[in-house]
């Protein structure tokens, strides 16, 4: 188990943390965040290349942040190509063995076992020059695993690979993970994250903003970033007025923060099921755009100006409408309005989903 407590590191104007994080033994933990979030810095601190300004790190109950790099039992796969170019594949893989009191007689056996696992048996006697990106990553993984680290940390291991190769390497990672090691995998790609993770932590600007199993993050995002990667562009932190009877059909006021103050919406109380600070996700495909408004009971109507067009994930482009706050709309009527048009937006109550911040 890897546990990080109150970790802080300042670098220039950037500040990582304070950060608390824990990954169970054998967990496939993915750290997801945009570039510049401090993910690599965190890994470098875990591996021991940088000293934190404060906080503690434990691996399997042992405090490791005070240990030298070589004693941490953390395998660190840096981003990019890290094979030693003057050594053969075999020499690359066996490089670490001499530092771990492995008798020289057993090196070949160990190297070949790992090469079998990673599917590079046929490359063992090659020089590293001329290997493909996928092959290089396999060699790097074999080199790391042969010294049996307790925890493996991977920094953007699929950078620069095409789609098919990514699938292959992700498959290999899952296969290697099934041996029961803890994996910490850093990426900026949500698809990569959800493909392998048993747990995801979202990191933005040096902090963990949300963590949980992939499904929970997809369905109940708590940050703009999490919502965006789940394909939700209409994500709003809202404040729900209290006082109504929970579960009633009466409508409650939902305040969305806009540029010039809060904008009121409304929703049935039983539908919101909560009060105070919440998150609202609005299904953009249900937002109807028209010149005069929609005369239908229920739902919400807002007036706004079309600001631009945004690509849609499923065929139809979305209008970006400024209605005091920005709303993406790709429902009926969206193709008729050029930027600058004054329009009315309407959506039914079912298009809104509310959730609370998980404790």
């Amino acid at each position: 188990m890897l546990r990080i407590e109150r970790l802080i590191k300042k670098e220039g104007s950037f500040c990582l943390g304070p950060l608390d994080l824990s990954a169970r033994a054998g967990e496939y933990f993915v750290l997801l965040g945009p570039s510049g979030a401090g993910k690599t810095l965190l890994l470098e601190i875990l591996a021991g290349f940088k000293r934190p300004d404060g906080g503690r790190i434990f691996l399997d109950g042992r405090r490791i942040d005070t240990l030298p790099i070589q004693k941490r039992r953390i395998g660190y796969l840096c981003q990019g190509d890290t094979l030693f170019p003057h050594l053969t594949v075999r020499e690359n893989i066996s490089y670490g063995l001499r530092f771990h009191r492995v008798p020289r007689g057993t090196w070949d056996e160990k190297v070949e076992e790992m090469a079998g696992e990673t599917g590079i048996m046929h490359l063992l006697n090659r020089k590293t020059r001329g290997l493909s990106g996928g092959e290089r990553q396999r060699v790097a993984l074999a080199r790391m695993l042969v010294i049996d680290p307790a925890c493996l940390i991977l920094d953007e291991p699929l950078t620069g690979m095409d789609e098919i190769l990514k699938q292959d390497i992700l498959g290999l990672l899952l296969h290697l993970h099934s041996r029961g090691r803890t994996f910490i995998h850093v990426t900026h790609d949500p698809r990569e994250a959800t493909a392998v993770a048993s747990k995801i932590a979202i990191m933005e600007d040096g902090r963990i903003t949300q963590e949980g199993p992939p499904r929970q993050l997809l369905l109940r995002p708590e940050t703009e970033f999490a919502a965006r990667f789940a394909g939700m562009r209409n994500f709003f932190p809202v404040r729900v007025a209290s006082g109504r009877k929970r579960g009633s059909r009466e409508r409650v006021t939902v305040l969305v923060r806009g540029k010039d103050g809060a904008r009121p919406l409304s929703a049935p109380a039983y539908y919101v099921d909560g009060a105070g600070a919440m998150f609202m996700v609005l299904d953009e495909t249900r937002v109807v755009v028209s010149e005069t408004g929609v005369a239908r009971p229920g739902g919400n109507t807002l007036e706004g100006v079309v600001k631009g067009i945004s690509p849609a994930y499923f065929g139809k482009a979305a209008l970006i409408v400024d209605a005091g706050f920005e709303i993406h709309a790709s429902g009926r009527g969206t193709d008729r309005f050029p930027p600058g048009s004054r329009v009315f937006l309407w959506w039914p109550d079912e298009a809104m989903k509310f959730h609370k911040k998980t404790a």
Binding site: A47, F49, I69, Q70, I74, G75, Y76, C78, Q79, G80, T82, F84, P85, H86, Y95, G96, R98, F99, H100, R143, M144, I147
Partner: protein, 252 residues
């Protein structure tokens, strides 16, 4: 364009080759044989070779670590240090010799300390080595530094992550990968040191090194006497360089 550039390049090349060819053409074989047999000439060449080697080895072992520090670490005053390293390339070597004298002479602290240990810099091989190293160190430092900079730092980190100490990482990863640049720098430093005249003549006129001998013969007896010695020394230099280059090639 290629034609024009070939023409211009050819002129530059001719300018380099012509004096050497002239030197060869104007000497006779018996003259050269006689010069090679001349004990003073042989002695001076041998002295030049071994002092240059000694200087390269002694100061190189300090210069290579410095080059690594400059390539890898950021510290205050790094730019100033880089400039200081390049200084010997800019200043007249006679001035460099004078500067060296101020710290190596018998009245200086270093000179006195060395004197107690039985070493005198002035007019001794030790002084020659110091003068050679002073003017030739920048070649090794700069070349090795470029070599170390070209080695991806992530490789060192990876080696350490795999269990190597930073020293082992240096010797098993960084140095082998920067080897060519280090060797090239060593060869340059050695060659530059061996042929140094200005700084050497000020620190140590005697024992006499080959460049000083050539100058002395030219001053005392004229071109005719200086020429064969010059040819022999240039020949020896070429042979040494070819050998070193071949060795360096093999080490690739």
């Amino acid at each position: 364009m290629t034609l024009l550039f070939t023409g211009l390049g050819g002129l530059a090349l001719l300018f380099l080759v012509a004096p050497l060819a002239g030197l060869l053409l104007q000497s006779s074989l018996p003259e050269l044989v006689e010069t090679i047999r001349d004990k003073e000439v042989c002695g001076s060449i041998f002295l030049s070779l071994w002092t240059a080697m000694g200087a390269t080895f002694l100061f190189g072992t300090c210069a290579v670590p410095l080059a690594w520090l400059l390539a890898r670490k950021d510290f205050p005053g790094k730019k100033t240090i880089s400039a200081i390293i390049d200084l010997p390339l800019m200043i007249p070597h006679s001035a460099a010799g004078i500067a060296l004298l101020t710290i190596l002479s018998r009245h200086s602290l270093l000179g006195q300390a060395a004197g107690h240990a039985g070493i005198s810099f002035i007019g001794s091989p030790a002084g020659i080595m110091a003068a050679m190293a002073f003017v030739s160190l920048p070649f090794l430092i700069n070349s090795a530094r470029t070599g170390f900079e070209a080695v991806d730092e992530r490789l060192e980190k990876t080696a350490m992550n795999l269990g190597a100490s930073s020293m082992r990482a240096f010797f098993t990863i960084t140095l082998p990968l920067a080897w060519r640049a280090v060797i090239a720098g060593t060869v340059l430093m050695f060659g530059r040191g061996m042929s140094e005249f200005g700084a050497v003549i000020i620190v140590a006129y005697h024992p006499i090194t080959a460049p000083v001998l050539i100058y002395e013969r030219f001053g005392a007896f004229g071109l005719r006497y200086a020429r064969p010695a010059a040819i022999v020394f240039i020949g020896i230099c070429l042979v040494v360089f070819v050998i070193l280059r071949v060795l360096a090639e093999k080490n690739r």
